[in-house]
């Protein structure tokens, strides 16, 4: 019971902090002081107090977009085990449910962007959907590999099954999986090699362009939803990459939070040392991720 409460609190409170840590890391690399780590919390509170402007050409779809997106991502966060504790919701086959919850969130972001009737936002929606077509098979191959490893179809089981012993036994395929999932993590969250979260007026951007017309609380929901999505996929990654368990419940939570912050720093480092790749190269990198996880599956099935 306490684990469930901590799980809910972690999902609600921690995500904006990760974004703050990423920004702080990038600032440190650039030699700036940077915004405080808690900046996103201030931004969210500020946006919640503001009014919202809706374009006259939009319909209810535009208003539903941010709500459905945030709701889908929050439900998805209940399926992932955090810090070696079983997730609050878990049933056989929930890994498919998990992937399609993320798909639902993406669908509503894209359809809300199309609803504005702006060709600019339509372009962003087309790109987002195209690239997620490439990212989804990679995620599924990774899940199939893990499911095969643990002989189970629930996320809680397959993610907590990964232990240092599993790493020793199947090191190569685990390493491939970690690489593939890290690429998916960056792609799904529109981080730098794929999309630059800081640009607001570039023709090359993908995710940011879709949310240009949202304002006030709706925009706060979008920002918060993006942070939760990063948290959820990050938790997935941490479960596979740092499979250490001490047996002490509270200590495990501490390790988990520390690992998540470490992951945020790692993403910040990647963003600082890499440039955004050209848009025609993105499918190539995502196909590469798919091949990595398919290859991991091949090694596992053998």
């Amino acid at each position: 019971m306490t684990d469930t409460i901590i799980h809910l609190l972690a999902v609600i409170i921690v995500p904006p902090l990760l974004m703050g840590v990423i920004v702080k890391t990038k600032a440190a690399f650039a030699g700036r002081a940077g915004a405080p780590c808690f900046q996103l919390y201030y931004d969210l509170f500020k946006l919640m107090r503001k009014g919202t402007v809706f374009s006259e050409t939009t319909t209810w779809v535009f208003r539903a977009g941010p709500v459905v997106t945030l709701a889908a991502v929050l439900v998805a966060s209940l399926l992932v085990p955090l810090g070696r504790h079983a997730a609050p919701i878990s049933f056989s086959g929930d890994l498919v449910f998990f992937v399609y919850l993320l798909g639902l969130a993406r669908f509503f972001t894209a359809i809300a962007a199309l609803d504005t009737g702006s060709s600019f936002e339509g372009m962003g929606a087309a790109r987002e959907v195209t690239f997620s077509c490439f990212a989804e098979p990679a995620l599924f191959f990774a899940f199939i590999t893990l499911a095969r490893l643990s002989n189970s179809l629930t996320l809680s089981r397959i993610l907590t099954h990964v232990t240092p012993d599993v790493w020793l036994a199947a090191g190569a395929s685990m390493l491939l999986l970690v690489g593939a999932i890290f690429i998916i993590l960056l792609a799904e969250n529109c981080r730098i090699p794929f999309d630059d979260p800081n640009t607001h007026l570039e023709l090359t951007m993908i995710h940011e362009v879709m949310v240009l017309d949202h304002s006030g609380p709706a925009f706060a929901m979008i920002l918060y939803g993006a942070a939760v999505k990063l948290f959820v996929l990050g938790a997935l990654f941490v479960n596979i990459a740092f499979p250490f368990s001490t047996g002490n419940s509270i200590l495990d939570w501490g390790i988990f939070i520390a690992a998540m912050l470490g992951l945020a720093v790692a993403i910040g480092v990647v963003e600082s040392v890499m440039a955004r790749i050209r848009i025609v190269r993105i499918p190539q990198l995502l196909v590469g991720a798919t091949i990595l996880s398919a290859f991991a599956m091949l090694l596992m099935l053998r």
């Binding site: 190569a172 499918p283 190539q284 590469g288 091949i291 990595l292 290859f295 090694l299 053998r302």
Partner: protein, 213 residues
């Protein structure tokens, strides 16, 4: 020890895919050099140590890792080309084809009647996958230098297969193969330079017609 050899073979197969995906020639030359060094380390992991083995390893690492990449790099430098433009089949399709070929070579290796001590290892699938990758690079790229690299990758695949037999393979045969390869690369380097001097391009698809159009 053998599990470590398997990890290295996985790395070899990943390098295959990297080479299929990249357009920069210098990068693929470096990748093929790294692959050569890994192949040079492998015999030491699968067979008990002997002087013969140490000699083979040193020669393989020097030739595959340093001498041949140096020759190709020199040819690239002289012909002044950086990247492969417009291959016959695009990068993403070749990457997918390479993955399919890798999967097929795993399936094929299952069917082969191997000696029981080799069945559990990745040597046979890795060698087939590397061989097929070499074929793929040879057939889909236009530039003569990319084709030389494809030829090298193919040779690496044959070398992996040969690793299973190192004990039975006398040093002379090994040395002869390496020497052939070295001379082959040397000749190809010279040919590439000549082509680029005569025609100001090393696009082999233009060498089909005998006459000027």
């Amino acid at each position: 020890m053998n599990t470590f050899a398997d990890q290295l073979l996985v790395l070899v197969m990943l390098i295959n895919l990297v080479m299929l995906g990249t357009s920069r020639l210098l990068f693929s030359i470096r990748a093929v050099a790294v692959q050569g060094v890994i192949l040079g380390l492998l015999p030491g992991l699968v067979h008990p140590f002997s002087l013969h083995l140490a000699a083979i390893m040193t020669v393989v690492i020097i030739v595959k890792g340093i001498v041949i990449p140096y020759f190709i790099g020199d040819a690239v430098h002289k012909a002044r080309i950086r990247r492969e433009v417009e291959p016959f089949i695009g990068y993403v399709p070749t990457l997918v084809l390479g993955a399919v070929f890798t999967a097929l070579s795993f399936a094929f290796a299952e069917k082969l009647p191997l000696a029981p001590e080799h069945e559990e290892l990745l040597f046979v699938p890795a060698s087939m996958a590397t061989l097929l990758t070499g074929f793929l690079i040879l057939t889909t790229r236009r530039k003569a230098i990319s084709q030389v690299i494809g030829y090298l990758v193919m040779e690496n695949g044959i070398f992996v297969f040969g690793l299973l037999l190192t004990e039975a393979m006398p040093a002379m045969v090994e040395a002869g193969v390496l020497l052939d390869l070295l001379v082959g690369i040397f000749v190809m380097g010279i040919v590439i330079n000549h082509i680029s001097r005569e025609f100001s391009s090393i696009d082999t698809s233009r060498l089909r017609a005998l006459k000027e159009e």
